[in-house]
Symmetry: C2
Subunit: 266 residues, 2 copies
DNA sequence: CTTTTAATGCGTAATTCTTACGCTAAGATA
DNA sequence: TATCTTAGCGTAAGAATTACGCATTAAAAG
């Protein structure tokens, strides 16, 4: 049974050679494993966070999974996130596709621990699998931190972007690439989806400052946002802090989406 | 022999099931064909052009090919372009990954015509192949139009971006996505690589106007470029046009790359 | 050979956008 | 009640963008 993978590959090769597709279709070199990884961003206590899966006490990864046949990529991203975390209906955006080779090869200990499989067989499988290049398509997502209710099994957690633990595969690179894409696409992204429903202007300002890694003048930032007309000032104020109570605001998402069409400049 | 593909898939499935990877690794649903497509942009007679392969009198596609195992994606993009067109050492940038399903399924007539294969077998192969989703990673490239010497077999040609013929697979979408990415990344892209070594400011202006689809004031555009200091004014002038001879310019690529680091705004 | 045409190259003025910062108000704390 | 800190509104200086005037020049037209 342990040679099934090799046999499958052999049959495939023979078939392809028989067909004479030697010019352009060298199938023995082209079977790939394609997976999807989701970099889900949240914002809490004035810091940007990323949602990571905790496979066991040591091993952590982004929410990842295979892509099904006939499945549109955007659907795969939603499904993978749903299957691994239960999170649904959120903003997801493709940012980059990477290929992982041996460098990212997981060992049996950290890749399938927790799953009920034969470890020796599993390691052989993984060795075969990672002789190939694995291609991973990255999507990033934006979600209100408070909407992610901690999993009862402790399967997933928020991690500060400044202190990400060791991750499986090339997940570190993916997070870095997602951040670069996030900054680049900022003009057209619904960044406000990272905020709770009601928020203060200061919270929004710090969100932007965190993502862009630069400071804004409080008064100018206020003016800037107001000219776009998508903020609804609520009668309520946020109390409890040691200063003047700031107004709470809400997003008019219809106007917000319209403004994002043209881009919002900061 | 015609069932080899199915057999290979069957063996694969049995192997995977035996391993018990049923939670996350549903291999029967996940074998993919991954290919690379290059959208190569050129600029000539004041129009943006795309390089397309002419497989036969009817069939056209972007330069495409499979990705090899263990091959970094950027290398695959260069290789595919080299193998299909002979073009080397040019600026390439990943822009998006798409999945194609039955919609883009080619028929035997238009997909492998010209290759020396058994057409009946080939069609069966293609049918099997396109029962799966094919994933295509898109890279765009920028090249000086004049550097692409027409292929003696007539295998590839420049096409105006405004009149692309019918293309195989979802190549139309890819070209559209490449254009969107090109516009979005403009600040940081070496757009000047689309121009010949010596060019007039007007040519450069029309290049930008074409890509951005908006007009610039001639005098302001001139000022804008001059402040970046990467243009070298040559003693020569371009003659032959029915007006005052404009100066020819050249790019100081060292200064140009430096300016692109910070981004050039238009 | 002279005039006309069309585009170049340099300059300035008007306008808009961005940035800097002053001042008062208000809630919590000492 | 005084103090501290941040909110909220406003103005002014400076930078960047935009609009456009005008002499110049090579080719084409007459």
């Amino acid at each position: 049974m342990r040679n099934f993978y090799a046999k499958a590959l052999l049959f495939w090769n023979i078939f392809i050679r028989e067909q004479g597709f030697e010019l352009n279709i060298k199938a023995k070199n082209t079977i790939k494993e394609v997976s999807m990884a989701c970099v889900l961003f949240g914002f809490h206590t004035y810091e940007l966070k990323v949602l990571l899966l905790q496979w066991n006490e040591n091993d952590c990864s982004l929410p990842m999974g295979r892509i099904h046949r006939m499945e549109p990529l955007a659907d795969a991203a939603s499904r993978v996130l749903m299957e691994t975390t239960g999170i649904e209906d959120i903003f997801l955006q493709q940012f980059y596709t990477v290929s992982t080779n041996q460098n990212g090869k997981p060992t049996i200990q950290n890749s399938i621990a927790g799953l009920n499989v034969d470890k020796a067989k599993g390691q052989k499988f993984l060795n075969k699998l990672f002789q190939e290049t694995m291609i991973t398509i990255g999507y990033y997502g934006l979600i209100d931190f408070e909407k992610v209710v901690p999993n009862e099994n402790g399967l997933y957690h928020w991690h500060k972007i400044s202190s990400i633990p060791d991750l499986l595969f090339d997940n570190h690179d993916l997070i870095e690439l997602a951040l670069v894409a996030l900054r680049k696409d900022l003009r057209y992204l619904p960044i406000a989806k990272l905020l709770p429903q009601k928020f203060t202007l200061r919270e929004m300002q710090i969100l932007y400052e965190t993502i862009l890694n630069r400071q804004f003048d409080r008064r100018n930032f206020h003016k800037l946002l107001m000219k776009y007309d998508f903020l609804i000032k609520l009668p309520e104020k946020k109390t409890g802090t040691a200063n003047k109570s700031p107004h709470l605001y809400q997003i008019d998402f219809e106007k917000y989406e319209a403004a994002l069409q043209d881009g919002i400049s900061y």
